[in-house]
Symmetry: C2
Subunit: 225 residues, 2 copies
Amino acid sequence: MAQATPDLTRAAIERLVRESIYKQLGKQVPAGNEAPNPLVVNVSARHCHLSPEAVEKLFGPGHQLTPMKWLYQEGQYAAQESVTLVGPRSRVISNLRILGPCRPLNQVELAFTDAIALGYDIPVRQSGDIEGTPGCMLMGPKGFLELDKGVIRAAPHVHMAPEDAAHYGVKQGDFMKMRVGGDLGVTFDRIFVRVSDSFKLEVHIDTDEGNACRLGPQSQVELVK
Amino acid sequence: MAQATPDLTRAAIERLVRESIYKQLGKQVPAGNEAPNPLVVNVSARHCHLSPEAVEKLFGPGHQLTPMKWLYQEGQYAAQESVTLVGPRSRVISNLRILGPCRPLNQVELAFTDAIALGYDIPVRQSGDIEGTPGCMLMGPKGFLELDKGVIRAAPHVHMAPEDAAHYGVKQGDFMKMRVGGDLGVTFDRIFVRVSDSFKLEVHIDTDEGNACRLGPQSQVELVK
């Protein structure tokens, strides 16, 4: 997962310079139009979300996921556990990471590159909107699980708290643009806005989108209404 | 390779409607601001260009490439011949297509997804600008060829004739934007302009870029200065 860390963006550097100048002048930095939170952009590699029942079927009765790496959103983690996905043409993706904690729904999120490799035609959906999507077979060390739906390409989206939404002038369900600079500069014109008190400001794009603009730690990123 | 064929774009449909209306009115369609040529966008999958000497080394003395599929640019073709690429960590891509006719330089064009799979860190370059780029090993049915440079990610670019350049108000070496519509709408902000009398108007993006915006026959595409 690449991360355009806030400390390395032009905006953050400009803020540091501004703060330093105001400090030398012996003045307070004016609040002005500063974003309340730094913008973090993460590339989500292919992964799945599973229900507690699915985890038990794949890893054995009573099994619980073990956090391996904590993600930017509070309480979310990449689990130590992974599964093998078998697609419609018996092609396989090994080591499909499980993200925890468990959810009520089973959902597999792939990039189009993954889907093409598997021989899938998958729809672009918001997380949780899986009616009418294709299924797959998952294999774990203790069993198989057949999903009759749930394989999607997750639409690019931004998590934000109400204060971020107020700053950017957007609301739940809106679309924003995200500009990524550099010699492969790309503007993503349809970033879906998700607002919740529990969210930290973070854009999620997939590996195809991240590779298209070569998102990295040095990338200049900007959210625009 | 996906192709946003000109007959299916909104612009083309609008033109047909306009022409039909003018015909009913018994009038000539005004020349106005019409683009002189339809906009074609093609996704280039990974491929290589080889010199005649390289082809002989890989396929045997006297061997010449056999056209399998003609491409949109005059005289260019995907050859029946393909090679196996071995990367720096001994990882392999089989069936790397050769594009003909032969060129003076050997050059391999990969998407970032390919490069990551191979364990490469490859630079974004214009075609032909291969100084300081990584090399690779190529394997053919009759021999090996070690390249000490030439593996690049091709920068997204547009081929056009001088009349297209005049219409769009750009010149060789400029950058344009390309907007791709749909629910994964993306604007590519850095499409490099290449102008030649021999070029037909065609944008080339790679598979990462094509997958990021899900470019397909129905995609609405627009070139903007």
